[in-house]
């Protein structure tokens, strides 16, 4: 898993050196949005994309300030900005929801991350997760724990908060052909088997099996 992740980050680093058109950038944001929406775990942060999109939006808004009111073109530009902003907010919001839901596990993963590996969280998300953990602990202490017998006054957040369920099923569309994807059996009577994922085909299978492909961008969750 960690190999696949570092490979993917290399790839994205390469991508950023190529010149990406704004249209491609928006398409990338939409891909990231859907992937984040449908994957059970928190995916790697795409701060590069988010920053570039923010830049585009700010730039466009600055230009629009100079245009007089009631201009037809300006209204079309505003509509487009609103649409992009919607995707961007929804993307960031679904990440924060995951942080709120899995914060101890996400922070634990962050702690065990080797130096040099890219972080899953943006600096802002990291700060949010830490604060969320601290606040939850303070709250539990104030409301319940301090009234407990001394030996029961601690709670292990890692055990108290469920882990993301990587065995969930997901729907996906294949962007790059993949061969020999192992499908694990559901029951003891069944045998495991392999499938080829043809480009453009759509599948329903366990997230765990294809998680590395989501990271590398070979499949798109739908």
């Amino acid at each position: 898993m960690s190999d696949a992740l570092s490979e993917a980050s290399d790839l994205s680093a390469d991508d950023s050196q190529d010149v990406m058109t704004p249209a491609e950038l928006i398409a990338k944001l939409e891909e990231a949005w859907l992937n984040e929406k449908f994957s059970p775990e928190l995916l790697e942060n795409k701060s590069e994309i988010v920053e570039c999109v923010m830049e585009q939006l700010t730039h466009m808004e600055e230009n629009l300030q100079r245009v007089r009111k009631g201009d037809v073109k300006a209204s079309i530009h505003r509509m487009e900005i609103d649409r992009i902003r919607f995707v961007l907010s929804s993307y960031l919001r679904s990440r924060l929801q995951k942080v709120e839901k899995y914060f101890p596990h996400i922070l634990e993963k962050e702690k065990s991350r080797a130096d040099g590996d890219p972080s899953f969280l943006s600096p802002e998300e990291f700060a949010f997760a830490k604060e969320y953990l601290a606040n939850t602990e303070t709250y539990l202490k104030a409301v319940a724990l301090r009234h407990m017998p001394p030996n029961l006054q601690t709670v292990d957040m890692l055990k108290a908060v469920p882990e993301p369920c990587l065995d969930s099923f997901v729907f996906l569309r294949v962007k790059e052909r993949q061969e020999n994807i192992l499908v694990e059996p559901e029951t003891d009577e069944q045998r495991e088997y392999v499938v080829d994922l043809e480009e453009g085909s759509q599948h329903l299978m366990r997230y765990r099996t294809i998680a590395p492909l989501v990271v590398s961008g070979a499949v798109q969750l739908i």
Partner: protein
């Protein structure tokens, strides 16, 4: 246990309006009644617009211009009674999902018919045909979901299924599968998948 499963819902859920939002990125041809230079949008260039000359724009813009009575919308090729009848008949004949002319056929039909029915010939017939196609496909989807679960499959190929169709069954199907998985893995001792609060 229940808490665990329910807590996953929020993330997996996609609102139908969000699928509709995605469909609005598809392009449609309009015939404007105004002139305007090329527009340089972030997502690509549009125009120029000249009265009477057809031009391709995203659906969201087409609908907006239509609402402001600034254009006529040209229905997509497939939004035609004869073509849709063929698709419907093929869909009824085949057991699998037949190829569909647009990955957003349902949403586009709804959007265009609701906002521009005066530009679409035989709008009512088209509405009925698309509804027939949709019903046939969703019935197939329910059947295959049922057999997927009862055969306890671990992989299914879903070619030609549209996002909106997937969305109708997403929550129910994925939750059922997750529930069954947890019931099964809880029966085998030592599986780490469902520790913590479940006990």
């Amino acid at each position: 246990m229940c808490r665990f499963i329910c807590s996953h819902k929020k993330n997996v859920l996609m609102d139908p309006s969000e699928v509709e939002f995605l469909s609005e990125k598809e392009t449609v041809t309009i015939i404007p009644n105004f002139s305007l230079d090329k527009i340089y949008l972030i997502g690509g260039d549009l125009g120029p617009f000249n009265p009477g000359l057809p031009v391709d724009v995203p659906v969201w813009l087409a609908l907006n211009l239509k609402q402001r009575q600034k254009c006529r919308i040209v229905p997509p090729d497939w939004m035609d009674v004869v073509k849709l009848e063929q698709i419907r008949d093929q869909e009824r004949k085949e057991e699998t999902f037949a190829p569909i002319p647009s990955p957003y056929y349902m949403e586009l039909t709804k959007l265009l018919l609701n906002h521009a029915s005066d530009n679409i010939p035989k709008a009512d017939e088209i509405r009925t045909l698309v509804k027939d196609i949709w019903d046939t496909r969703v019935a197939k989807l329910r059947l295959s979901a049922d057999s997927f679960i009862s055969l306890q499959e671990a992989h299914a190929k879903l070619d030609n299924l549209t996002l909106m169709e997937i969305n109708t069954t997403r929550m129910f199907l994925l939750d059922s599968l997750n529930c069954m998985y947890k019931l099964r893995s809880n029966m085998q001792p030592g599986s780490g998948a469902t520790r913590s609060q479940d006990y």
